[in-house]
């Protein structure tokens, strides 16, 4: 039965291949049908094989590499963690596929879109299910490529294409560090199997483990748009909205978190690394939240929000709670995918307008969408009893439960960020509902754009049940299923306290936002501080100034001076020198025979002189 595991990733791959080779001759409906069906079937298979996950089933297809001591099998590992993730990926993907089929109804290039979309799901599932780091890397780069191609889906606009390239390059830069970690792990352990590495982790030298963990963290940061590799995600919003929803909210950006979770037994051996992971997570969460607060583009708000929320997941990993990270990962997938799709529908209704200050009147235009927006936003804001509330609290609780200065301060920073989160989530709602002269569009939202959102809306609200803490009468289902003891059990008092603080924060945020945005406002005037935040703390300019511009300038300089000026031109120079020597020698052949005779005379003298020299010495 384990061999059926391969169906999970291969079904979307088959979908992609069918669309690639036969898509041109298919009617659109059939094409979208194939795409949706392959992902839905994959989700169904995941559900069907769910019981296998409990005993960490494995399945091997064939050996990929076999060189020297290196053995890389094409092997899948269906662990509880992977099962959760796989189910989330396939489920959310299936819904987004349905949404996309409607969203891109009129796009002529639908075949390419769904081919890449299915391919993406395949690659993502490879990441999720791979037991071997190299196979994981295949998925890792595969999602990177799909993300690249889908961000630049509307390739005629060079800005979009550039955004895709940026996403790929920034993540690739981080992948270099991940790759080095991979090489080093093989060097140290002689294997690339994650399970085997985790088993051997304890015997590795501690210093190496710290550096390894930091390298892995860098790789994860790249994929998950954490500082300092975060700048690609806001630009990635150039892609069609379903892409943003699936790749840049629900699945791919969480791959970094997932990687850290998978390798947690290794990483957890280094307290330093954990502290750094927590720091990176918290600062990114804070950074993202501040930026999201002032964005005018609806999708950019969500993008920075994603950066910020993924930061929480990193904080969770740092704090040592895999369950917390996974829990937030899942709930975030629900509400953020929901929000993106709502945003897409809103944009669709406004014929492509994305500026928050030109949108509005959502409840009147489409009440259903408004309620869905509200569901997503409250979950994002962490309003008590929604899914976001439980998952975020679990993370913060884990931080405070550590009871060290470092983790407590990180927890406090997390709380501040939670306040900011509530601020921008509610700002979004207020701006979209504002009663203002908004960009007009065509009629009500198509049904296909709405109903895939309903299950997500429901999950966003009640997703907390997945891992309801015992304090609230639950039994921490996810934690049990994952069976990853974190060693931390926050006291009930702490949990209650946190819930109370969160409630206060949300309420405060609601008051603040209500006062500010109750009456329709125009955007704030140009203030340097706002500009700074809108531009994402000007990281882009910094990178351009410090890295890309010098790289290009130096490269051109190198080409001009060294390469053209010397390396490739010295042979020609040498050739000219030889030619010139030849021209000089032509003077001797003057055409006058008496010169020739004299030359012979000199020849005789030369030989005789040499002879004399030789005879004397």
């Amino acid at each position: 039965m384990t061999e059926f595991l391969f169906l999970i990733p291969l079904l979307p791959l088959c979908g992609a291949l069918i669309i690639l080779f036969a898509g041109g001759r298919m009617p659109r409906r059939l094409l979208t049908g194939v795409a949706i069906a392959s992902v839905a079937a994959s989700a169904a298979v995941t559900l069907w094989l769910w019981p296998l996950a409990a005993d960490q089933s494995r399945a091997t297809l064939f050996t990929w590499f076999d060189a020297g001591s290196l053995q890389v099998p094409m092997e899948l590992l269906f662990s509880p963690l992977a099962a959760c993730m796989a189910l989330m990926v396939t489920g959310v993907s299936a819904l987004i596929h349905v949404y996309a089929a409607c969203y891109l109804h009129h796009d002529p290039d639908i075949r390419r879109f769904f081919m890449l979309f299915n391919l993406f799901v395949f690659a993502m599932l490879v990441i999720v299910l791979a037991d071997n780091l190299l196979l994981l890397f295949l998925g890792w780069e595969g999602v990177g490529f799909c993300s690249y191609a889908l961000i630049g889906f509307w390739y005629r606009n060079p800005v979009f294409a550039t955004a895709g390239r940026k996403a790929f390059l920034v993540t690739r830069a981080a992948d270099v560090l991940f790759g080095i970690a991979l090489l080093w792990l093989f060097h140290l352990t002689g294997t690339l199997s994650i399970t085997a590495i985790n088993l051997q982790a304890a015997s590795l030298p501690p210093a190496s483990v710290t550096i390894l963990a930091l390298l892995l963290l860098a790789g994860a940061c790249g994929k998950s748009a954490q500082l300092p590799f975060s700048s690609w995600l806001p630009d990635a919003m150039a892609g069609p909205t379903p892409v943003s929803a699936l790749i840049h909210a629900a699945t791919m950006v969480t791959a970094g978190v997932y990687l850290l979770c998978r390798l947690f037994p290794l990483i957890s051996l280094s307290p330093t690394a954990l502290a750094v992971i927590g720091l990176v997570g918290t600062s990114t969460a804070f950074y993202g939240a501040t930026c999201a607060l002032v964005q005018r583009d609806i999708k950019k708000v969500l993008a920075y929000s994603t950066i910020s929320q993924v930061g929480y997941m990193f904080l969770a990993v740092g704090a040592g709670t895999i369950t917390g990270a996974m829990f937030h990962l899942l709930t975030h997938a629900f509400f953020k995918a929901l929000l993106f799709m709502v945003a897409g529908a809103v944009i669709h209704l406004a014929s492509g307008e994305q500026d928050l200050f030109r949108l509005g009147r959502l409840p009147k235009r489409s009440p259903m969408l408004f309620w869905l927006l509200l569901a997503g936003s409250v979950a994002l804001a962490g309003v008590p009893l929604t899914s976001g509330f439980f998952s975020k609290d679990a993370i913060l609780a884990a931080c405070f439960a550590r009871q060290t200065l470092w983790w407590t301060s990180l927890g406090v920073a997390g709380l501040i960020t939670a306040f900011l989160t509530a601020l921008y989530a509610l700002r979004l709602v207020y701006l979209l509902t504002a009663d203002r002269e908004a960009a007009s569009g065509h009629g009500p939202a198509p049904r296909g754009l709405v109903w895939p959102l309903l299950p997500l809306g429901a999950l966003a609200l009640v997703g907390g049940l997945l891992n309801l803490p015992e304090v609230w009468g639950g039994h921490a289902g996810l934690g049990r299923w994952l069976a990853t003891p974190s060693g931390l059990s926050p006291s009930h008092g702490l949990e209650w306290g946190l819930a109370f603080v969160t409630l206060l924060l949300v309420a405060g945020a609601w008051f603040a936002i209500r006062n500010r945005y109750r009456v329709p406002t125009s955007p704030v005037s140009e203030r340097p501080c706002v500009d700074f935040l809108i531009a994402g703390w000007k990281f882009d300019s910094l990178i351009r100034f410090a890295i890309t511009a010098p790289f290009e300038r130096l490269g051109s300089e190198l080409e001009r001076s060294l390469e053209r000026g010397f390396t490739t031109s010295w042979p020609a120079g040498l050739g000219r020198l030889c030619q010139a020597t030849g021209q000089k020698l032509r003077v001797f052949t003057s055409g006058s025979v008496s010169h020739y005779l004299v030359a012979m005379g000199w020849g005789i003298i030369l030989l005789l002189a040499m002879l004399l020299f030789l005879l004397i010495f």
Partner: protein, 101 residues
């Protein structure tokens, strides 16, 4: 032998160098040919002298052959002189420099 070989060699050497200088320094074709003849005569002198020194006839034999060869050479050369003089009306060797480089 009345004259020592060394004297013969010195004399013929001087003669040879004189002829050589004539060949190298003169521009007139006829004068160059005369220079060559002087050189060949120096050779003949050496041969005869050496033949006497070694007391064998080969040197003299060779001197005779040399005369014949010189005659043949001069014949060819003079034919060329006539031809050149006719076509270019000069026998200054440096005027014949149509090919160079």
């Amino acid at each position: 032998m009345i004259v020592p070989l060394g004297h013969v060699l010195i004399l013929s050497g001087l003669l040879f160098v004189a002829g050589l200088l004539g060949v190298l320094l003169r521009r007139n074709l006829i004068m160059i040919l005369i220079g060559v003849e002087v050189m060949l005569n120096a050779v003949g002198l050496t041969l005869v002298g050496a033949s006497a020194y070694w007391r064998n006839p080969e040197g003299q034999l060779f001197a005779l052959l040399l005369m014949a060869v010189a005659a043949a050479e001069v014949t060819v050369a003079l034919a060329l002189v006539v031809y050149l003089k006719r076509s270019r009306s000069t026998i200054d060797v440096n005027r014949f420099n149509g090919m160079q480089g």
